[in-house]
């Protein structure tokens, strides 16, 4: 059986199998709007390969982190633009 780990998404705790891509974990948790654009529009992942930055979220206080290229880590604190 694979190990699980727990992270925090917008203050709520979320448990996922080890090796889960953060963008996927967020989608599983029901997030469709990953960020707000400069004019306030809702945006979510587009390219899935680290090119477009539309899946950017804040991870442990670091802004503009691409969730499609990030694996979930134990204790990670993630904030999306709700």
């Amino acid at each position: 059986m694979s190990k699980h780990l727990t992270l925090s998404v917008n203050g709520r705790s979320l448990t996922v199998p080890e090796g889960t891509v953060l963008a996927v974990a967020l989608a599983e948790a029901g997030v469709t709007q990953f960020r707000r654009s400069v004019k306030g529009q809702a945006r979510g992942p587009l390219c899935g390969m680290g090119i477009c930055f539309e899946c950017s979220v804040t991870i442990d206080g670091k802004l503009h982190q691409r969730s499609c290229q990030t694996l979930c880590q134990e204790g990670m604190e993630v904030t999306t633009d709700e």
């Binding site: 891509v21 996927v24 989608a27 709007q33 809702a42 992942p45 587009l46 390219c47 390969m49 503009h64």
Partner: protein, 425 residues
Amino acid sequence: MSDTTKHFDIVIVGAGPAGMAAAVAASQSHRSVAVIESNPWTGGQLWRRPDAAATPRAGRHWHARFKACKAHLITEASVGDSIAPGHLLVETPASAFNLFYDRLIMAVGAREQFMPFPGWTLPNVFGAGGLQLLAKSGWPLQGKRVVVAGSGPLLLAVGAQLRKRGARVLCIAEQTSLKHLVRFGLTLPRLGPSKLWQALVCQSQLLGVPYRTGYWPIQAHGTDRLEGVTLRRANGATWNVTCDMLGCAFGMVPNLELARLLGCDIEQGTVRVDTWQKTSVNQVYCAGEPTGVGGMDRALIEGQIAGYAVTDQPDKARALFGPRQKTHDFTRVLNQGFALRDELRTLTTPDTIVCRCEDVTAAQLACCDDFRTARLYTRCGMGPCQGRNCSTATHTLYGWETEFSRPPVTPIRVRSLVDLSVEKE
């Protein structure tokens, strides 16, 4: 040597098929080899690691060879800048370092080409390959109604894969006309990858997913997420489809940012290389998609040739020149078969966003003559993606050229720049 300085004889940027093949080939010498990869995993987009169990045999084979070779792998590492020949500034989540090389191989792959149309910025509008990649990583698809649209053989693979993962694929809309497709299909048997093509078509038919040629999306509907899409066909008829997700892309375009940063000659949207995969810049080589989008076969062969060339193993490289030519022929046929129709250049309305990072609209860009002016007056291309999406879009829409890469080519922390100030010689 300090933590902030590393040196390798050979540095390979990218651990996809081309980079892995280059590393395997270069490691058959006595040179030190390092591979830097921006993802946490190897295999590029084609064989990405989280999906290891579902990776095809070729991928498992090359992963095994790569693992067995002595190349030093650095993951989650992005190139931010190069301030002198033989130097790269590399950043990882934890640190940054100066990476010095004697010879460099760029194996940085390609990305999807997106065409702006009204509503394309809505959440749940993805790239076609983008959606496939997210699906491979486990993106929830069960019971979702999905439309796949755009252009290229990839659409069929995407449709089949999404369906396998529980999505209801409502249709695959290919912008190319049936006439072009048939011509493409007829040319393929001479070129090798035909088996792949046939397998995809058959698979798609078996699954019962409608494959509509000569259709393209003109509008995505929804308020804060996608609710439906309007497709159009050449005779002007439109078709509204209610759906949860849209995977849409118009083929692939090379990643050229690093080549431009290093000053390599670019010709017709690809990095110009000689028979040894050497670019116009001394000691800099390039393999795979940046020299011309041709998929896995081309990437593996060019990667090996570059790997042998940089380590002075010319005979081994030469043995692959014949197979390489075949993959170049495939690229040519692919480009002809899936050329974009002119209608796709007229989909934007004045308020359609073209630059997604800075929310620059088509109306704002209508006042500009070139990409440089657009940068200055509208901030088009100035956001985190550094113009990766909008430079391609504005090239296709307005014919604008991008001559240079403005460092940093990927966003890096100010801290890294301060820590790593290197004196220019």
